[in-house]
Every structure is written in structure tokens, then in C-alpha cells.
């Protein structure tokens, strides 16, 4: 096989990177949320995401078989080597923008993990089944907040519309199937993401309707995260997340 990278390694890496970057983003709210209860609630979602990342990156490391572990993958790769979708690296903005991102992503994750839980490859299926319970709750939580914020005061509504508007152009990337995705699907380890789109649309539209919000107009999708072409925001996130391992390689406590 020479230096060819296994598609299943890349597939696990993508799943791990999505969860890791979103977990890190959400953890930025710790101590800053609008209320103590909301602080805990966002931290819980963040921890669930980091837990998923640990499983997926651990699996990626096993598949790679080069003695890199999940921590090495998380803390010692450069920004171009990250394969997360662009949506999860978007800045938190205000609370409404954070909720808009969570809303779009959690419904995707809920559908994705329901599919993953049923794949042939038991390693992927096991993580999918465990994570499905977590993201089902995330999707409910984010949807409830969308309705509250959308169908509330003029200010919360405006902020939610703006937050959704910011995040919307990054949603299409979630459903793109490239060679890696096709290979993982064929190998019984991956999900047909493109096929999830109608169900996702239905979920999103139902909540937006409850929230009395318009579905944002379709626009040119922004893609590139899976190939390592990231927004400027990811570099800043990594410099904070990776600081300790960069400054003190191998540090433990």
C-alpha cells in the first residue's frame, strides 16, 4: 500500500475532528453563558463532543497503526491537517449564533449517528450508538432554544436571524460525499450523507416554523474543510487548544 492513507483512517479522523472542534468552541462559553444553568448546559454538550472525539480519534489512531494516539492527533497536527467541516469552527458570536450553529449541526449528527449505529463495521457502529443518545438531546436542546429565541422579543429574534444567516452557508458541506466518504460507505463503515439531506431539511423546517423564522435563502455553499482549507478562525482556536502540548510536549498530570 506504500504511503496511501486508508480512507477509513480519514473517515474516523473527520468524525473526530468535527466533534473535537465543536467541543472546544462550546467550551469557550464556560463561565460566560447568560445564566449559570445555561453555562452547565453548554459545558455538558461540549463534554459530550470531546468524548466523541476521543473515541473517533482513538479509532483513527488504531486504523493508522503508527503509534500516534488520540491526543497526538488532537494536539499535534497543524491547521491544514484538520478535516472538520467549516460549520463547527465558526466563531461563537452571541448566544443566538452559537445556538444556530448547534441547531444545524446537532440535527445532522443525530441523523448521521443513527446511520452509523447501523453500519457493518462494529468499531464505527459502537461509537455511533453511544453518541446517538447524546446528540439526540443536543438536537432537542438547540431546537427548544431556536423556538424560544426566534419567537420571543424583537432583539432575540434579530440576533437569531443573524446567527442563522451566518451559519447557513456552511450547512451544505455536511452532506457532501467525496471519495473518502464513498470508500467508507462501500467498506460498511460509513453513512450516505447525501441521503440524509431531505430528513435534515424536514427537521430544520419544522423547528424554524415553530420559531416563526424564515428558512434562509439558498446561497453558494462554502466548502473545503474536509480537504484542510479552513477559515482563519480555526488557527486561532488551535493555538489556544494546542498551546500546552506545543509548549511542553508530552506534558501530563
Amino acid at each position: 500500500m506504500g504511503n496511501a492513507v486508508s480512507p477509513l483512517f480519514t473517515y474516523a479522523l473527520r468524525l473526530g475532528d468535527d466533534s473535537l472542534i465543536l467541543g472546544q468552541r462550546l467550551s469557550e462559553w464556560c463561565g460566560h453563558a447568560p445564566a449559570l444553568e445555561v453555562d452547565l448546559s453548554l459545558a455538558n454538550v461540549a463534554l459530550d463532543q470531546v468524548g466523541q472525539a476521543t473515541h473517533f480519534l482513538g479509532l483513527a489512531a488504531d486504523i493508522e497503526g503508527k503509534k500516534r494516539d488520540a491526543d497526538a492527533l488532537a494536539f499535534r497536527r497543524d491547521v491544514m491537517d484538520f478535516t472538520n467541516c467549516l460549520l463547527v469552527e465558526q466563531p461563537n458570536g452571541d448566544f443566538a449564533q452559537t445556538i444556530a450553529r448547534q441547531f444545524l449541526f446537532s440535527h445532522y449528527q443525530a441523523l448521521l449517528f443513527a446511520g452509523l449505529a447501523a453500519v457493518e463495521d462494529e468499531r464505527f457502529a459502537a461509537i455511533g450508538a453511544k453518541a446517538l443518545k447524546e446528540v439526540t438531546y443536543h438536537a432537542t436542546l438547540a431546537s427548544d432554544w431556536m423556538v424560544r429565541l426566534g419567537d420571543s422579543t424583537e432583539e432575540s429574534r434579530t440576533r437569531t436571524v443573524n446567527g442563522l444567516d451566518w451559519m447557513w452557508r456552511f450547512a451544505d458541506e455536511l452532506f457532501v460525499m467525496d471519495e473518502t466518504d464513498e470508500a467508507a460507505l462501500k467498506a460498511g463503515a460509513g453513512v450516505d450523507k447525501a441521503a440524509l439531506k431531505p430528513a435534515w431539511d424536514q427537521r430544520i423546517d419544522a423547528v424554524l416554523s415553530d420559531a416563526t423564522l424564515e428558512r434562509p435563502a439558498a446561497r453558494r455553499p462554502v466548502v473545503g474543510g474536509r480537504a484542510g482549507r479552513h477559515s482563519e478562525h480555526l488557527g486561532h482556536l488551535l493555538s489556544e487548544m494546542q498551546f500546552l502540548q506545543r509548549a511542553y510536549p508530552g506534558a501530563t498530570w
Binding site: 447568560p34 445564566a35 444553568e37 445555561v38 452547565l40
Partner: protein, 97 residues
Amino acid sequence: MSDPSKEWPLWEVFVRGKGGLSHRHVGSVHAADAKMAVEHARDTYTRRLEGVSLWVVPSAEITASDPGDAAALFEPAEDKVYRHPTFYKIPDGISHI
């Protein structure tokens, strides 16, 4: 959150630790309505596998006894030891009594 009139109302939280046990009061959360109160209670009080069921009750709906009446309410029971079921033998292996 400095203006108290704009704060979310308070809810008392009760958690059932496992099937067969009663719901037990564990604390309170702020929330705009019952649905949010359940979510906040879940995220605040069941993070370490503490529960299988949650109740939330608006704190304002609880009617409490008046501490000033404590003597009249509770002290008459003090000398009625015959009301305590201490004359029964409890078999070994019975928990939660």
C-alpha cells in the same frame, strides 16, 4: 441579570435515584418555563448518573409550614414513642428503610 424582575423564576428539583425509590429534593434551578426547568435540572443535577426520573415544581407553588408554629406543630409528637415502629425486627438484607 441584575434586575430581579427580569430573572427566570425558581423551580425546585426532585430526582428519583432509581426505580422504587421516592423522588428526593436535590436543589433548585432558574428557568423560564417547565420544559426549560426539566432541561436545566437534567444538566445541573443528573450529570453523574444520579437519576432515572426528574420532577420540577415552581418554588412559588410550595406552601411551607411557618417556623413560628414549629412548637405547636411538631413538639406534641415528641413524647409519643409508641408511634415509632421500633418494636419490629427488620430482616437482614432489607435496604431503603
